[in-house]
Amino acid sequence: MIMLPDKNGYFGQFGGRFVPETLMSAIFELEDFYKKAKIDKSFKKELNYYLKNYAGRPTPLYFAERLSKKLGLKVYLKREDLCHTGSHKINNALGQALLAKRIGKNRIIAETGAGQHGVATATVCALFGIKCVVYMGSEDIKRQALNVFRMKMLGAEVVPVNSGSKTLKDAINEALRDWVTNIKTTHYIIGSCVGPHPYPMIVRDFQSVIGKEAKRQILEVEKHLPDYLLACVGGGSNSIGLFYPFYKHKSVKFIGVEAGGLGLFSGKHSASLERGKTGILHGTKSIILQNKDGQISQTHSISAGLDYPGVGPEHSFYKQTGRAEYVSVTDNEALNGFKLLSETEGIIPALESSHAIAYLPRLSKKAKNKVVIVCLSGRGDKDLDIVFSNMHK
């Protein structure tokens, strides 16, 4: 396995630590504890115990037969939607909560877009008896009401964020401000592979359970590695979790699907890697959507979880080095993906994952009968209202 990031948190020229000085002590502390935990057998054992018995891992690698036949591809779905709380977010939340316990922090904060990370964090806080505060853009609170209710049921405090675009980006700003203020008692569970070093590395490592399992599972059924890995990219945690364990295997092609929103030329999308440029946001240097003055752009996506102007630094590195290809699908295509999987396989995907599904018909044109693993990062219950209202427009 490659040893990235380097000791300063860089993946090539992306990454690093760009935060107010107040946070630096906590960032070093987290890095120290993580380094120790990573090689500590008892930590691994504890995490594996909860992943297996609480989150429900390993998740199945399911051969989507009807979908495959329809598209002329061999599609396997990595079923993160079957994890406890309904998405891959629980993998990282469990890992980080166990770390927070080791550090001795008794309060956890998190930000959330679609609510999946908020729900996962609220869940692990209930599990371990830790106080939990979740920041969520007021726009997202409106469109993801069910998840807000879930977090509250789990005992978390949900704080609406009214600044900026009132979505994920602003929820992260507010969580960072809380963290600056309550640094001594509080651990911030960042939900994606973004933020200052060591976060992108920690989140990737905790999510790489997805790719490790998928590799084992595909070798078992197909006796060879897949041709393609396909996953949606907002900040990029489910995709990096799937990709990373295959990094060395150059025959396996990676495709990340970003949110094209109303189209790449509409100005209303979240396709950072296709339309962004290098900059610094939320503590890390990466490719971000910004205007000519370096002000961060407002983004749009039908799926709140992808509605973010940046992307994890490791994805920027994959893009720059050509290790992964990044494409985008529009809101409408995502809705088609949502219907396609529901109708062919009886699986209702999250709108985030629907972006990955929606790219399959395009991929099938150039990859006939190839083996594709799609990360089905979450289930779609939370999105039924949005899909309903869009279908009746």
């Binding site: 630590r17 000085e21 107040t22 002590s25 971000i288 910004q290």
Partner: protein, 257 residues
């Protein structure tokens, strides 16, 4: 020695504390910023001009608001250099630019420093630039003789604080609270012991900011530092259309005791 270091040395000899005032550049508009500087310059030792940013993670609601308002008017770094150029025609007060890294990075680091030098900027503060990431900017500030002003927080460990202080070529910006910017009634009890300890470790000037908003704060802290930075309290006054001049005059009287 930079102009700012010379100034602080002079003030120290006169047993005066430095007073630095923060204004969000272009809030509520460019004209007001320029006029205000003209009116308050005789009472202050340094003026900080904030570059508005869409995602100011170190700032509380007051500065966030003023930044958003300035951004509605499309204020950018070029506008801010024009402000500096204009006021430089009449004023000698050292001017410090305070801005988050992304707009500066986007402007081009080399270009930023050469323009800053040309227009008469004296110092630079970047609240989201950690010591670990600061080398290139420190080098550029050295070449252009623009003071590099790093931040030290109450959570900064001893060794690290010394290292950061050493890297300064203007003064050390000590954040008075564990938190974001914003006027506060109470200042952390940890601040005085922290300043005392820092004083024994460095000869660099220590200016205290974040939360400093009245004469009482200055009174309590004057023994332990070399000056004060007031920001949100000023923005509040501008927002409420109250006299900034009167307020600054009173603070300035206080720093001269």
């Amino acid at each position: 020695m930079t102009r700012i270091e010379n100034l602080l040395k002079k003030l120290k000899k006169q047993n005066k504390k430095a007073l630095s005032i923060f204004l969000t550049a272009g809030y509520p508009n460019i004209k007001t910023t320029e006029k205000l500087i003209g009116r308050i310059e005789k009472y202050v030792d340094l003026i900080e001009l904030g570059v508005p940013f869409s995602d100011p993670i170190a700032d509380g609601p007051t500065i966030q608001y003023s930044s958003q308002e300035a951004l509605k008017k499309n204020i950018n770094i070029s506008n801010i250099f024009s402000i500096v150029k204009n006021i430089r025609k009449t004023t000698k007060v050292p001017i410090v630019i305070m801005g988050y890294l992304n707009p500066i990075y986007n402007f081009g680091l080399k270009k930023f420093f050469s323009e800053a030098k040309k227009t008469g900027v004296d110092g630079i503060i970047i609240p989201d630039l950690s010591y670990e990431e600061s080398r290139q900017i420190r080098d550029l500030s050295k070449i252009s003789k623009i003071a590099y002003i790093p931040l030290v927080a109450l959570t900064t460990g001893k060794e690290r604080a010394i290292r950061i202080a050493k890297s300064s070529t203007g003064f050390v910006y000590v954040t008075a609270v564990t938190g974001v910017t914003g006027a506060r009634n109470k200042i952390s009890g940890e601040l005085i012991p922290f300043l005392k300890k820092l004083r024994t470790k460095t000869t660099k000037s220590l200016l205290v900011g974040f939360g400093i908003s009245n004469s009482g704060h200055i009174e309590n802290l004057r023994k332990y530092c070399d000056g004060f930075i007031v920001g949100s309290a000023i923005i509040d006054l501008i927002r409420r259309k109250k006299s900034v001049e009167k307020f600054v005059k009173r603070l300035s009287f206080n720093t001269e005791k």
